[in-house]
């Protein structure tokens, strides 16, 4: 929990960022890379793509370090990049209609072994949500961000966050009920 709080709070703190981009970005990755990969895995259900998205986000931060006007809040920047990367990946998946006969991403052996059936059902339901609802839900309840923080991270209004979250919770309840 403490780690999650650090992830959530660091972008509002006045962090002392090392001056050199390589050092700064590597340190940021060491501290937050794993948590961001976890977030992307839940978003995408595909570890390889999740790791690609997070790597790309940090590479983007690294390449643009000199042009950033505010390098004191790099986590907010890279987190937004991860969310946008996930959004793009989901958009690319969903842009074309998908066959009902196509298998979804395989669940990892770790998940099958370590996560209860009930929790796996909840995550599976989350993955059936439209991307925006899924994103709002994870920012709110996985990262414990407030509605305002979630709205800023997603680049939408607080009302949209509230609406998306409400719809998502309702849909999850219905999906789980249908499948029980």
């Amino acid at each position: 929990m403490a780690a999650l709080e650090r992830l959530r709070d660091v972008d509002t703190a006045n962090t002392d960022v090392p001056p050199h981009a390589t050092h700064a970005v590597t340190a940021l990755y060491a501290e937050h890379g794993l948590r961001l990969v976890r977030l992307a895995v839940i978003m995408l259900g595909d570890r390889a793509t999740a790791e690609d998205v997070v790597q790309d986000a940090f590479l983007g931060l690294y390449r643009r370090w000199d042009s950033l006007t505010d390098t004191s809040h790099p986590l907010a920047y890279v987190r937004a990049s991860v969310m946008n990367g996930c959004r793009s990946a989901l958009r690319r998946r969903s842009r074309r209609p998908i066959s009902l006969f196509t298998e979804p991403p395989a669940e990892s052996a770790e998940a099958r072994a370590l996560v209860s059936e009930e929790y796996r059902a909840v995550v599976a339901a989350i993955r059936r949500l439209p991307a925006r609802q899924r994103e709002a839900l994870l920012l709110r309840y996985y990262l414990d961000m407030t509605e305002d923080e979630t709205a800023r991270a997603m680049g939408v209004s607080r009302g949209t966050v509230k609406s998306a979250t409400s719809r998502a919770l309702a849909a999850i309840g219905r999906i789980l009920k249908e499948e029980s």
Binding site: T69, P104, S108, G155
Partner: protein, 455 residues
């Protein structure tokens, strides 16, 4: 916190903790792109001196593409009822869809007149049409701009002209409109005459996301900036992040009244002091080009507005209205008298659109003289299997809103892989909407996939 919220929190954390390690960060892929394996979607950053070479390569690649242009059919087009004959569409390419090609086709015969391929590493990201159905402006950009948020600023602009019966039936000409690198470009719209192009954007968004929203009008032939308006109100054009990937909106900005005015939407949310619910407020504003001033909001006026509570489970489920479909913005027709939009009605009690069962997709019109009264131009009822999301879109409207072009599609919610050859039930259904009916445009049948289209 409700039981559902607790379940989501606990389940996501338990699932996340199954990932215990990640591969090291490889910054050398960014620092020395030529020396290491780079995943297909990552692109090298070209040094500045290569820009002219890249531009020349783009022209060459496009010229090569034009060699394969088929002859435009010389038989007369079927009765069109005012629907433009030719379209230009951005077509994402397999395997991952990072590159858009540009397809030029005949709406009525189904003939594909040309497929244009941008230079290696580039993608078409914008397409917008004039009123004559023969003139388009398109733009390309390098697939990876280095921006972490996948913005798609047009970098290189081209004029696309269709000239049936000539030796060069599809012509592409480089335009001097400025490179918008680093900007969050939300929408582009070519004027009916084809002489001017309007661009809605947030300048320098990557480094200054709170920059004022701007509307700029450029001369197509000279690239000169003719007019500009700005506002700190970021609700204009639907706000940042609304159109953030792969292609730009072509309906969030429209030219009206013989190109003397521009119409654009705003979307905002505010708390209702009585119900304490957030209320989504959507407007269409009209900007008179002949008037002075440079404030996008102060110098424009609201000609249509609607609102609803943002939490649909309270009382708004099942509502059929423009604002029920926030991803599709309302559009003012060129005569300035009618607002048209695509809308969705969900029959289930939770307002979610992923429920199985019949769902109604509609295209609505509001007269600006009676802006609260909606007319249903056409609707289709779709039987949506579980885990699918029916979606509809509005792509073109004639000058009075009497005839539209739209699509509806049955999509999986989000999970799964891309299927390049979906079963017929999951392909887009194109149609002309007029006289209360959705008439299928079967000739568009081979266009199973697009990320932008203009008529």
């Amino acid at each position: 916190m409700t039981p559902a919220e607790r379940a989501v929190r606990a389940a996501t954390r338990a699932y996340g903790e199954t990932v215990t390690e990640v591969r090291p960060l490889d910054l050398t892929a960014a620092a020395k792109p030529g020396e290491r394996y780079v995943r297909p979607r990552r692109r090298r950053r070209f040094p500045a001196w290569t820009a002219p070479v890249a531009a020349a390569a783009a022209v060459i690649a496009l010229a090569i593409s034009l060699v394969i242009v088929r002859n435009i059919p010389d038989r007369p087009a079927p009765a069109s009822g005012g629907v433009p004959r030719y379209y230009a569409a951005l077509i994402p390419q397999p395997p991952q869809g990072f590159q858009n090609k540009l397809a030029v086709g005949d709406t009525f015969t189904g003939a594909r007149l040309a497929t244009l391929t941008p230079a290696r590493g580039n993608s078409f990201v914008a397409v917008t049409a004039a009123a004559d159905d023969r003139t388009f402006v398109v733009a390309t950009q390098p697939i990876d701009t280095g921006a972490p948020d996948n913005r798609v600023p047009p970098r290189t602009w081209y004029l696309l002209r269709i000239a049936p019966g000539t030796s060069s039936q599809v012509r592409l000409t480089r335009l001097p409109i400025p490179d918008l690198k680093g900007d969050d470009v939300l929408t582009v719209a070519l004027s009916g005459s084809g002489r001017e192009i309007a661009v809605g954007l947030i300048p320098d968004y990557a480094t200054s996301p709170r920059s004022p929203v701007q509307l700029r009008v450029y001369s197509v032939t000279t690239g000169k900036l003719e007019r500009a308006w700005s506002t700190s109100d970021q609700t204009a054009f639907g706000g940042p992040g609304r159109f953030s990937v792969e292609s730009l909106s072509t309906t969030a900005l429209t030219w009206v009244d013989d190109d003397r005015a521009l119409a654009f939407p705003t979307i905002s949310a505010a708390s209702d002091p009585l119900t304490h619910q957030d209320v989504i407020h959507e407007t269409v504003r009209l900007l008179d080009m002949s008037a002075g001033g440079g404030d996008l909001i102060a110098d424009s006026r609201v000609i249509w507005s609607t609102q609803r509570e943002s939490v649909p489970v309270t009382d708004q489920h099942g509502l059929l209205s423009c604002v029920n479909n926030l991803s599709i913005l309302p559009m003012l027709t060129a005569d300035g008298k009618t607002i048209v939009c695509a809308a969705i009605k969900s029959p289930n009690t939770q307002g979610t659109l992923t429920a199985p069962g019949p769902q109604t997709l509609a295209w609505l019109a509001y007269s600006t003289s009676t802006p609260t009264v909606a007319r249903t131009l056409a609707q289709v009822t779709v039987e949506a299997p579980s885990s699918t999301t029916p979606a509809n879109d509005l792509l073109w409207a004639d000058s009075s809103g009497g005839t539209l072009i739209g699509t509806w599609t049955l999509e999986m919610a989000s999970t799964g892989f891309i299927d390049p050859n979906p079963p017929p039930a999951y392909r887009p259904h194109w149609g002309v909407i007029a006289d209360g009916k959705f008439r299928p445009l079967t000739t568009m049948g081979d266009l199973n996939l697009y990320s932008g289209i203009a008529w």
